[in-house]
């Protein structure tokens, strides 16, 4: 039994959970909903187990380190964070239709990690610049932020679907529009706080490694762009009239920036090491 096997299995558990959430939404039956919740809890346990086991394996390989230092490991952590935040929301709002939007994201995330052929599944030791306590704080805060933004994105989509579709039987099951709007806003705030912490810890780390807290390298710049987009959203919301649909659009746009910060930057020239 090794971590990548557990995580591959977890991928399918998430897939199943997503399927069950969708089924419970479409057929409006409570049983698949309950099953979905338990499947999700099973999945997140597997995800956590895989994360911890990979940590243990790195010690066995002779250079113990927290598994947060390449694309594969970050995706594993990302999927876990998305699902954990989702579980909190489900417990608070008792509405399982949200799961139909969120679990497929957790699934895609892990599926990309487990199935993509050029993913760095082998456990490699850290290069000198990454050997810092700031690494784990930086990566964790960034990914909690990204996860909150992923949920805000899902809620944004949900808002648009519900608003467009009127009050059909399916859409009726979704939360009320202003509840979705409020949830989007809450996720954006959570994400903004953690993205801020992520940028700050990254800056402090860069300063301890290279003596500069800001260097306009593409990854840094893109995280700042993302930050600006969400700051725009937060302020736009304070102006009258910017609620509901426009906020939903902005949260979708913002998530586009997140995705680019995460994956797209590797296509640009720069220093950050993920994916290269």
């Amino acid at each position: 039994m090794n971590s990548s096997l557990i995580l591959s299995v977890t991928t399918f558990v998430y897939g199943l959970a997503g399927f069950l959430y969708i089924a419970s939404w479409v057929f409006r039956k409570p049983l698949p909903g309950k099953l979905a919740l338990w499947t999700t809890i099973l999945g997140v346990t597997g995800n956590l187990a895989g994360f911890i086991l990979r940590w243990v394996e790195s010690y066995a390989a002779g250079f113990g380190r927290i598994p947060l230092s390449n694309l594969y490991e970050s995706l594993v952590f990302y999927a876990m964070t998305i699902v954990v935040i989702y579980l909190f929301i489900e417990f608070r709002h008792k509405n399982r239709t949200l799961g139909a939007f969120v679990l497929p994201m957790g699934f895609l995330c892990l599926a990309y990690a487990s199935l993509s052929p050029d993913m760095g599944v082998q456990i490699r030791p850290l290069m000198p610049a990454l050997k810092s306590n700031w690494l784990s704080v930086h990566v964790m805060t960034c990914f909690v932020g990204y996860a909150a933004f992923a949920l805000a994105f899902a809620f944004g989509i949900m808002f648009l679907i519900k608003e467009k579709g009127g009050n059909g039987r399916l859409l009726h099951a979704l939360p009320k529009l202003d509840t979705i709007d409020e949830l989007t806003h809450q996720m954006v705030m959570l994400g903004f706080l953690f993205l801020t912490m992520g940028i700050v810890t990254g800056a402090v780390w860069a300063n301890s490694a290279w003596g500069r807290y800001w260097g306009w390298d593409p990854k840094e710049t893109w995280s700042l762009i993302t930050w600006f987009v969400y700051a725009t959203l937060l302020h736009a919301r304070l102006m009258r009239g910017w609620q509901g649909r426009r906020i939903a659009f902005l949260s979708i746009l913002g998530f586009g920036a997140v995705i680019f910060t995460y994956f797209g930057v590797n296509l640009l020239p720069g220093l950050h090491s993920y994916g290269s």
Binding site: G62, F63, R124, P125, M127, P128, A129, K131, S132, W134, D178, T179, E182, M189, L190, F192, L193, T196, M197, V200, A203, V204, W205, N207, S208, A209, W210, G211, R212, Y213, W214, W216, P218, T221, W222, L224, I225, F228, V229, A231, T232, H235, A236, L238, M239, A257, V265, L268, P269
Partner: protein
């Protein structure tokens, strides 16, 4: 109380411009959008590279807009200054109402925006204790005012969280100010120090200008260690700081652990190998085993021990490839023998018996030699960094306060009626109106459980 407010006339119009959140939205959106260009166009490269990549026309076009160094361009700075003025004026504008709200002593019993009304059978006297008990469960400050028909109760908490706004916005100004300070008074230099020597002058990264230090940095040793996989584990320089020849500080630095001295921070940043001036070759006689060592340098020729042939060192290649294999450092030589065409002889440093394959009378190999390194140190001084860090802390604290805490108020008014009492429950919150609505309904349910079940 100090109050700074909108001036009249033209300054007033300027004030209006900078006070609006609409300007904030526009500026932030513009910053987000324009920042993208600098990530698509590599910054601060050589003009020739740009002309190569984009052609003459686009080179000129981009250059007009400073797109090759855009984060320092006038227009990007203008956006930053606009944002800063926006924050400053916006903050000043809100200062006095906010302070009144935070430090107000007298409560206001006016009804608030989220409201519920309930009719109750109990008397005002009875209700007073119930109201006080309920309110004190969630609120710290409670005021009650009696009037002839009943009473009003006012409760609030978290008024200070309104200062979160200032923490966020001021932190950005502090942070930008720290960055400005660093860019004016900071020093960003570099120096290479060979092992066993010391250096007292650094070169600035941007201009290359030399800057003398009032101390010397001595590199005692530089080491690279490797993981089993062959990847680099650590670069480590053992440094001593000398003043007037005396050691005043000592530290082994690695990439994430620099040395600090007199406001300067010294970082491990690069390294390199020092090439020895002369190299030594071993000539071993295949038949007798006799071994002779000879000195050689690039471009020089040495005679074989028997005098019948001679060898010229053409170059020392760092990464030589032999039959598709990278063999690392190798000496490339030419062998001359009377009556024969000259032949090339490759001597990989790491494989001393490689030359046996040539089947010559003498086997030549590169004599073992100590490699000496120099360590590349970034030497920096940034007097603004503490302001930047203070700004960071304040920004995070401010976001936390603004996002997860709120100023909540509740006013409950009780009036006697012929059948009992009429109760109005009202509340506001700077955040989570849905939560406040729920709380107001729950409160109203205490007085009229039937209607609010």
């Amino acid at each position: 109380m100090i109050s700074i407010s909108r001036p009249s006339g033209l300054p007033g119009q300027v004030w209006d411009f900078f006070v609006s959140v609409r300007l904030t939205v526009a500026t932030l959106a513009l910053l987000a959008f324009t920042s993208i260009f600098g990530t698509l166009i590599p910054q601060n490269q050589h003009p020739a590279d740009y002309i190569n990549a984009y052609g003459e026309f686009f080179f000129r076009f981009f250059n007009v807009f400073d797109l090759f160094n855009m984060y320092n361009s006038w227009w990007y700075r203008l956006l930053m200054v606009t944002l800063t003025l926006n924050i400053l004026i916006c903050s000043l504008n809100r200062l006095s109402p906010t302070l009144k709200m935070v430090f107000r002593r007298k409560p206001a019993f006016n009804r608030l925006s989220i409201r519920e009304e309930a009719d109750c059978e109990r008397s005002a006297r009875e209700l007073r204790t119930i109201v006080e008990n309920r309110l004190s469960q969630t609120f710290a400050k409670i005021h009650v005012q009696e009037d002839e028909k009943g009473f009003s109760a006012f409760a609030e908490k978290g008024a200070w969280t309104r200062l979160g706004f200032y923490a966020i916005h001021l932190s950005i100004i502090i942070l930008l100010f720290g960055a400005l300070l660093g860019s004016i008074y900071g020093i960003d230099g570099h120096v290479n120090v060979p092992e066993g020597t010391s250096a007292g002058t650094i070169r600035l990264r941007n201009s290359g200008a030399p800057v003398p230090l009032d101390f010397q940095i001595q590199c005692n040793a530089f080491n690279i260690s490797y993981y089993k996989t062959g990847a680099v584990r650590e670069f480590r320089s053992s440094l001593t700081i000398l003043e007037d020849g005396k050691a005043v500080s000592e530290k082994e630095i690695i990439v994430n652990d620099p040395l600090k001295y007199k406001g300067f921070t010294i970082y491990q940043s690069s390294y390199g190998k020092l090439k020895a001036k002369t190299q030594k070759l071993n000539f071993t006689n295949r038949a007798t085993g006799e071994k002779v060592e000879k000195e050689i340098s690039v471009g020089r020729t040495v005679a074989f021990p028997d005098g019948a042939r001679e060898l010229t060192l053409k170059k020392v290649a760092d990464d030589h490839t032999l039959m598709g294999q990278d063999v690392g450092e190798a000496y490339v030589c030419e062998l001359k023998e009377d009556g024969k065409t000259p032949m090339e002889v490759i001597l990989p440093t790491r494989f001393p018996s490689f030359d046996k394959m040539r089947k010559g009378e003498w086997i030549i190999s590169v004599a073992r030699q100590e490699n000496r390194f120099y360590t590349g140190l970034a030497v920096k001084k940034d007097p603004g960094v503490w302001l930047v860090y203070a700004g960071f802390l304040m920004l995070i604290a401010g976001c936390f306060i603004s996002f997860f805490m709120s100023h909540q108020k509740m006013v409950i008014g009780v009036k006697e009626t012929p059948t009992g009492t009429h109760v109005s429950v009202s509340g506001t919150s700077t955040r989570n109106r849905i939560g406040m609505k729920k709380r107001v309904r729950e409160m109203a349910a205490i007085f009229n459980p039937k209607e609010y079940s």
